[in-house]
């Protein structure tokens, strides 16, 4: 376990404004080196060569000179889970047979996954809903790195990726939104279905193949080919606005029809967070979700966005284990989690 230091503070890209639906924005570019097999097809030796080449090449770019470079096989399971919890890595990067790596930029807002599904997955995280700024930052990173490597590209298909779902721009933009009112009012199913129809995906907190918990959804573009970066960003902007409107409407509706029921649920959640002696992470997410909703309804709860973020983020399983410095059983972890909550709530 090597991340004890990081494990006691939240990531800088988390929105501390609990009145906002939008937690964070993520932009990632998928790129492959010309003349090399894609990671899945490459032999372990070839995967190693690519990782070495990428690590060395990136070190020549000023911004990445002092960046941390991790070789995934050296990390234990807690470290690997920690990277996922931190949104620095996908599940597929850390639990893979491939020779994989991770370059961590300063301040944890930018990173490069090496030998995930593609040779390079460059990602930038931004605070709240910051589509333009985050794309701008990611684009300049992509530009700097493209000066060092020759990326596989064709006029017809754009950037050549391992999976056809990423072809063309290789660009995926997503935002993490908290939509409990839509879930509670029963509209979320319709929202997800409608998003899918216009080529927008909704996933769980940790991205691909994870289930949504506590009303947190990751919303992202599906179409990457035949569109420009501008098209993608305009689409997500429009979608985010619509989602916000729908959520506001659902909340007004809930407050006017089911106010007491909601207040009861929210105060109960507060009580659980304050007094529970064992709490699972899944339950924690749901309780925090209630409190966040309560704050957005204007309820007077003695918690703010920053503390809520800490409770949500620093109480993740691998975070607790990293701080503890040793493996814990699930029930020990649940106990430590409730202790941590009481400390944070004061």
């Amino acid at each position: 376990m090597i991340f004890a230091n990081l494990a006691s503070k939240s990531s800088p890209w988390q929105n501390t404004d609990s009145g906002s639906l939008f937690i964070s924005t993520r932009v990632r570019f998928a790129r492959n080196l010309a003349g090399f097999y894609f990671p899945n097809q490459a032999s372990p030796a070839a995967q190693s060569r690519v990782r070495k080449k990428v690590f060395e090449g990136i070190a020549t770019v000023k911004r990445w000179k002092d960046a941390g470079k991790l070789e995934l096989e050296e990390l234990d399971i807690t470290d690997r889970k920690f990277l996922i919890e931190r949104h620095l890595s996908s599940y597929d990067l850390v639990f893979t047979e491939r020779v994989a790596g991770l370059v961590m930029g300063e301040g944890e807002t930018a990173g490069i996954m090496v030998n995930e599904e593609d040779h390079l997955r460059m990602q930038v995280l931004g605070k709240g809903l910051s589509l333009e700024e985050t794309l701008e930052e990611a684009s300049s990173i992509e530009k700097e790195i493209s000066a060092v490597f020759d990326f596989a590209h064709s006029d017809d298909f754009g950037f050549l990726t391992s999976c056809p779902t990423n072809a063309g721009t290789g660009l995926r933009i997503s935002f993490l939104a908290h939509l409990p009112a839509l879930v509670m009012s029963g509209y979320m199913g319709e929202v997800i279905e409608s998003l899918a129809r216009v080529g927008v995906a909704s996933r769980g907190v940790y991205g691909e193949a994870t289930k949504p918990l506590g009303g947190f959804f990751q919303i992202s573009n599906q179409v990457t080919l035949g569109v420009s970066q501008r098209d993608i960003i305009e689409k997500l902007k429009a979608i985010s606005k619509q989602i916000e409107d729908a959520s506001d409407k659902a909340l007004d509706d809930l407050v006017s029809k089911r106010k007491t029921e909601m207040e009861d649920k929210i105060y109960r959640s507060y009580g659980v967070l304050q007094y529970a002696r064992r709490i699972s992470y899944e339950e924690l997410i749901n309780r925090i979700s209630d409190i966040r909703l309560g704050l957005s309804m204007g309820m007077a709860l003695p918690l703010d966005g920053e503390r809520l973020n800490n409770m949500l983020f620093l109480a993740q399983p691998a975070h607790i284990e990293e701080r503890n410095g040793a493996l814990l059983s699930p029930s020990e972890r649940d106990e430590k989690r409730s202790e941590f909550l009481r400390e944070t709530m004061g």
Binding site: F36, Y37, E85, V205, G226, L327
Partner: protein, 160 residues
């Protein structure tokens, strides 16, 4: 493949690990992965990569004859299984199969050009065309010719 830990169940989680100076591969089953905490309390579950399968199944009927990429050896039938191409050259080797697939995923089978750049170029061409009109209207033919050449040059370089 059998789980390295319980030696009973089918392994579903695979990863590399560094032990005693050597990189070894770990293959463990879901139950042991839960015990080790790979899944516990969190939301990650090993995906079946069903998306890739859906997509390739959409565009690649099982009846088509198999072929492979001359560069990396990836077979079309393997692509149908995992939805992943083997190398940049696969895009050419399987072009005829990929185009209908891309259309189903993205609604189009061709790249629009790396964003920003072509648009900026188009904007510039648009602005220049306006200038050209103004110059012609003012009968400033030398200026008009200069602008015309500039537009030509921009359009020529703009294929990508």
């Amino acid at each position: 493949m059998i789980c390295d830990i319980c030696k009973e169940n089918e392994a579903t989680v695979h990863f590399t690990s560094f032990h005693g100076g050597e990189v070894t591969k770990m293959h463990i089953c879901h139950a042991c992965a839960v015990k080790l905490g790979v899944f516990d309390g969190n939301t990650q579950e090993k995906s079946f990569d069903i998306l890739g399968k859906f997509l390739s199944a959409l565009a690649l009927p099982e009846s088509i004859s198999d072929q492979s990429c001359s560069e990396c050896g990836k077979k079309l039938s393997e692509f149908r299984e995992d939805g992943k191409l083997g190398c940049p050259q696969c895009w050419e080797a399987f072009r005829a199969n990929l185009e209908p697939l891309l259309k189903k995923i993205h609604g189009r089978s061709f790249h629009k050009g790396k964003a920003g750049a072509p648009k900026v170029k188009n904007l510039r061409v648009g602005a220049l065309q306006k200038e050209l009109l103004t110059a012609v209207e003012k009968e400033e033919y030398e200026e008009a010719a200069r602008i015309r050449d500039k537009i030509k040059e921009l359009k020529k370089g703009g294929g990508k």
